[in-house]
């Protein structure tokens, strides 16, 4: 039985009571604790800075050349907070409710309520750091609205909110580096979690510059390493985003929760050719003024300006008259796939739909559209060579965010004592679908306002023996890592790493992508093990492991993606309902909409690793809804 350690009491009082009664670490003792934080995105940087401010000794690790690069930086739209500055009826309850509903009733009430409670503190903290949020003419903070909400609660810094929030967290981190309270280790990749007496007590990393295998010991490990969308090869994630650190923790006993929950973002720039290395997201705010359409006729090769109005199918407006082009991400994505599967997709590949601004430009003028979306239109033109003021944009859905992740309890601790997981790397707050402008909120909530309290609960109750890297557990781990690297380097096969990654990505997209069905999931569960075998016998990695070797880095990550992909398929197969971003073709309403099965699946699936040859065990954490009523979402 999984214990989520949700505090007793009324929903609105749980976090306050929990903070008020939790054990504290004596200030004089905090400096005796060494805390390892892996990752320097929003969650990792904010956690490392905040814990250092409290007096803990922090070691901070990242794969990048600087702690300012993590992919949180690419978030465009904004960050939600229940400030109600607009006097439009927002409240902690409403943000909580929107997030629970948006997640299709597959997240924990208590966690989500806490997230909504601390959201307001995040804005205050970031303003104090010097984050230049947009202001109105009176000098107050400005807001915009975002999909899935009826209030205006999103704070933003132009189209670069993620960048500004990350640079704020990075600046706080560097402030603690200057004080000596944080030791920063860049260009280090975590390759193993070290456990002693069943507790997380350290990590082993590869120094990506020197190739050295290095050990670090501590009293707790915080994993803040982001999501696993790159299992699909093509996604909006950065090239270095990977699941290796999380996967190594899974293999040491940390449960992996809801791996099949993947968010596909509807407005991305389509694939241009085989050379495509990643996909670029266009903010979904574009759907406020753009109209989505495809030709009514199959295989219509005319250019868009030659297709008369009567022969265009504005399928979202027809099918969902209330929400129209503003349906949630999962609905918009699935419908784009359907029309393309139907042979009505546009562009060279047939895998795109139009997002047309012609009518908005006629109605509002080109200047207004330029003011609203100028930077996005420029970016689109830079990438595609097409001018969206003159011809409709082409868009297609792409993998964007993973709601699943390592299982954590209310205190953000995984099933391994001492291993805590923050941000996108955990599973806790977004259920089966994340609302826009909520990822930044969660990463910073975990780092600034949750872990500084909950880590103390663990440290004050754990019986930790003094330990350094001379312990045999570190030697064992280093030895295994060296053997694995040596195995990879010695395969001497014929195919580059990317070749395997692309093949895996294609399989995942076809069978564990926007629409999943039993037969396809069973098929991929046979295909991935074959691909894995080919990888371990035919991959080619040039050079040596003794210095910079980017192919070796990629190979280690792809080896783990191959295993994770299998677990995602297994999880998707077991969950024979549709919910949020997980659409099972067998579970839909007569109108082809997602159909949840609350009687069978109102739970978290937490997978336990049992060995490479064994089938993992699926544990259930029942989700109890005491404060909201479960309803089927409708956007008609």
């Amino acid at each position: 039985m999984i214990d989520s350690r949700i505090p007793e009491g009324n929903l609105a009082d749980k976090w306050t009571n929990h903070k008020g009664h939790c054990q504290l670490v004596n200030p004089a003792n905090k400096r005796k604790y060494n805390i390892i934080v892996v990752g320097t995105g929003l969650a990792g940087a904010s956690a490392a800075a905040s814990l250092a401010e409290l007096g803990y000794n922090v070691m901070s690790f990242c794969v990048h050349d600087s702690a300012r690069r993590a992919h949180s930086i690419a978030a465009q739209g904004g960050i939600n907070a229940a400030k109600n500055y607009q006097n439009d009826g927002d409240s902690v309850w409403r943000l909580f409710y929107d997030t629970i509903k948006g997640g299709d009733y597959r997240s924990r009430e208590a966690n989500v309520h806490r997230l909504a409670e601390v959201s307001a503190n995040i804005i205050d903290q970031c303003v104090a750091q010097g984050v230049p949020f947009a202001r109105d003419y009176g000098g107050n903070l400005d807001n915009r609205s975002f999909g899935g909400a009826l209030v205006s609660r999103t704070f933003y810094a132009r189209g670069q909110t993620g960048q500004q929030l990350l640079l704020g967290a990075y600046s706080s981190l560097m402030k603690e580096v200057n004080k000596g309270q944080v030791k920063l280790f860049t260009r280090r990749e975590m390759l193993d979690l070290v456990m002693v007496d069943g507790e997380a007590r350290g990590i082993v990393v590869r120094n990506l510059t020197t190739g050295d295998i290095e050990s670090y010991a501590g009293d707790a490990v915080l994993l803040c390493t982001g999501g696993y969308g790159n299992v699909f090869y093509l996604s909006t994630n950065a090239m270095n985003s990977n699941a290796t650190a999380a996967w190594r923790c899974y293999k040491k006993g940390a449960y992996f929760a809801n791996p099949c929950y993947t968010q596909i973002h509807p407005t991305c720039i389509p694939v241009a050719g085989d050379h495509q290395s990643k996909l670029t997201l266009m903010s979904e705010s574009l759907r406020n003024d753009g109209r989505v359409w495809v030709p009514k006729k199959k295989g219509d090769t005319r250019t868009p300006d030659q297709i008369p109005e009567a022969e265009r199918d504005y399928y979202l407006e027809t099918k969902y008259p209330t929400f129209g082009n503003l349906v949630p991400r999962d609905v918009a994505s699935r419908n784009a796939k359907q029309v393309c599967d139907d042979g009505r997709g546009v562009g060279n590949s047939g895998l795109a739909v139009y997002l047309d601004f012609r009518d908005s430009i006629q109605r509002l003028g080109e200047d207004t559209i330029r003011q609203r979306y100028g930077n996005l239109f420029d970016m689109y033109e830079r990438i595609t060579g097409h001018n969206p003021y003159k011809t409709p944009m082409m868009i297609y859905p792409a993998v964007h965010y993973t709601m699943g992740g390592l299982w954590v309890d209310y205190n953000l601790m995984s099933s391994i004592p001492g291993l805590h997981v923050l941000g996108e790397a955990n599973f806790s707050d977004h259920g089966a679908n994340r609302l826009g402008a909520s990822a930044l909120m969660q990463g910073l909530a975990d780092g600034y306002f949750v872990i500084p309290y909950t880590l103390g609960i663990y440290l004050s109750s754990a019986k930790l023996t003094p330990l350094d890297t001379s312990h045999a557990a570190f030697r064992d781990s280093e030895k295994q890592i060296r053997e694995r690297i040596s195995t990879l380097m010695n395969i001497g096969g014929s195919r580059p790493v990317d070749d395997f990654h692309k093949t895996l990505g294609k399989l995942m997209w076809d069978y564990v992508g926007m629409s999943r069905e039993e037969a396809g999931l069973k098929k991929i569960l046979e295909e991935i093990p074959k691909l894995k075998e080919e990888f371990w016998s035919d991959v080619k990695i040039p050079g040596t492991g003794d210095y910079v070797n980017q192919e070796l880095e990629k190979a280690g990550r792809v080896a783990d993606f191959l295993e994770l992909g299998e677990l995602m398929a297994r999880d998707a197969l077991e969950r024979s309902e549709s919910c949020g971003g997980h659409f099972r073709a067998e579970s839909k309403t007569p109108e082809d909409e997602a159909l949840r099965k609350d009687d069978e699946f109102c739970h978290v699936a937490a997978w336990e690793y049992k060995g490479d040859k064994e089938v993992p065990v699926r544990h259930k954490e029942e989700l109890v809804f005491e404060n909201v009523k479960l309803t089927q979402r409708s956007y008609k």
């Binding site: 600087s66 690069r69 903290q125 104090a128 750091q129 230049p132 949020f133 560097m174 050379h275 830079r382």
Partner: protein, 254 residues
Amino acid sequence: MSEKLMTLTLKVWRQSGPNDKGQVETYELNNVSPDMSFLEMLDVLNEKLIYEKQEPIVFDHDCREGICGTCSMVINGSPHGPEKATTTCQLHMRKFKDGDTIFIEPFRARAFPVIKDLMVDRSAFDRIISAGGYVSVKAGGAPDGNAIPVSKNTADQAMDAAACIGCGACVAGCKNASAMLFVSAKVSQLALLPQGHAEAGTRAVNMVQQMDDEGFGNCTNTEVCEAVCPKEIKVSNIARMNREYLKATITNDE
């Protein structure tokens, strides 16, 4: 979209490590699609090199959306290449012609030592930020976000400066390898906002001191930095930094 495929001659800087003196290698690459990004073109070249049992070219890159600041390289003599306000990852091959010869080198500066090929060590920038590029506020003690109004104009100017992605193109473009544009962007952002006022003097002095210690050169007002900056950070930030520095040193607010 499917325009003619190109054949290119690539002259690429190869250097096995900091102690290798390095040299330019020449590669021919066929079938380059105009729709490829510059880095995707290098991906294709690397794949070819791997099949030919050669070591692929090492280069830093990550988001490929022009925001993380990881990608670097000097293309035909210009940091991030020929297109204005564009990072290398957002530069597309349609900006080049069939038969072109392209020179690709690392960002060069004494303070940015080469690690391998096109990958350089820019950790000096981290140390400069660590010397003062922040507001010393702890999590938990912040007043309400609207407690101190900030005029829209000021917030916009601060945002203009804060848009810096820390890539180092300003240093690579400057004949003195000066980091003044990078440092001044952060000094300006925080000096403009009321939240950063209290430390404005010490910040300017400490960051400038660290910049000098790292071995960056001085500014001689050529303004190349602004011309090559992919985020169009303005040199007026340097003037503001100089004012902050001067103010701090004559009032002993350092």
